[in-house]
Symmetry: C2
Subunit: 215 residues, 2 copies
DNA sequence: ACATGGGCGTACCGTACGGTACGGTTCGAT
DNA sequence: ATCGAACCGTACCGTACGGTACGCCCATGT
């Protein structure tokens, strides 16, 4: 754990990014069985270089998770003219991005790794994933919800509760089941239903918090 | 992984249960840093006995998780005379039990361990936790939902979707944040709000699926 | 042409831990 | 009283892996 958390994007050389890619690939393949020797071999570099660049195993892991987590795409929504149609579109966009992210192999691996890590002392990975996952969603969704409330499109006592309800309606039990390796819930299985789920979540959210009867 | 999954409760001698308790305690304390030597020392038994009883490390882990996961309390609800009041009470009871289970240290540890395990090949732990967690809830909740639908108290296209919505409304982002070790979300913090959250979840569920306007 | 430094490959070390072996002790059965 | 099974404590073995050291290559600057 030699590296401090840098909120801004770390500047990695292409060679270093290749190493991080190799590490991520190994993580996805072998689970947490990531060994320094394996990374070095995969990336065709020497272990000495790994230690020079990343300090120790935790540093490499942290760099990998952070570098990858920061890549999570976040939807840009138009806040300027909010009507009910635009709001619904925004909600659906958020739901779609959240779901597609969550069911991706990379996301599953990152979350598993961070959870494994959180079981010990080392809290960094958990916070990194948290910041780039749920918290990032929250930061970007809340202003929209509040803008919609100001525009009399939504009504809720506080935006935190509204955000969490939205999160629950979208994610449901999908993430925990994927993390636990539920074999009855493949990615492709979920993927096929994304559009229906997205629409249902937006509908339900608007039913609960919309000012007018849901359209 | 010497032991096959036994669906029925394993019959462990008191001494063996003491060993499993020691293993669980170590798991809660040290995360996944569970070593056979530590268990043997904690339980005042020899490693040879551990291997004799549980086969190998995975066997011990599986036995521990399974034995503990089977202890999850499940609410008994009265299905005989369902009115809206009884239905609401049942929903709140389910929500309360689900939340109190999820935020417990034992549950967090079990889920973390199973997720760590699921990252490798060994799928057993994930399925065990899944079966005794979300799936157990589902098995017990679904009949009630269907009974309520037959009694014209609820209306939904299919009970699976209704169950999953309920799950999402109750759990929201609490579980993933706890699993990731979110320091801004302590158990006591959540505990204080359980009753309010339970009521909110039931209200929202009835708003979405109740036949009459929610009371 | 030659020095220098970054990086590759490999060999090596120390330790932690899974798994085994064995002597000693308790306890119940005969 | 004796035997044997179960079990405790401890010592031991093999291996895997984190971390270090070193020799060599190669590119770049002077």
């Amino acid at each position: 754990m030699a590296l401090a958390i840098k909120v801004n994007e770390e500047t990695f050389t292409p060679r270093q990014q290749a190493v991080l890619t190799a590490a991520l690939d190994l993580l996805v393949e072998n689970g947490d069985g990531l060994t320094m020797t394996a990374v070095a071999r995969r990336a065709s570099c020497s272990k000495e270089t790994l230690y020079k660049w990343f300090g120790d195993r935790d540093g490499l892991l942290t760099a990998t998770v952070q570098w990858q987590a920061a890549k999570v795409r976040m939807p840009f929504v138009d806040r300027s003219h909010l009507n009910i149609k635009a709001l619904r579109a925004s909600l659906e966009q958020f739901a779609r991005d959240l779901l597609t992210t969550i069911i991706g192999e990379v996301s599953i691996t990152l979350n598993r790794t961070a959870i494994t890590h959180a079981a010990q002392e080392k809290d960094d990975l958990g916070n990194i994933v948290l910041e780039n996952g749920p918290m990032a969603i929250r930061r970007r969704l809340k202003p929209i919800l509040e803008a919609a409330r100001d525009a009399r499109l939504l009504r809720f006592p506080n935006s935190e509760e509204a955000y969490r309800t939205f999160y629950g309606l979208v994610v449901r039990d999908v993430q925990i089941r994927l993390l636990l390796g539920d074999k009855g819930l493949t990615q492709s299985n979920v993927e096929a239903n994304i559009e229906a789920d997205v629409k249902a979540a937006a509908d339900q959210f608007l039913t609960l918090y919309g000012v007018k009867a849901n359209s």
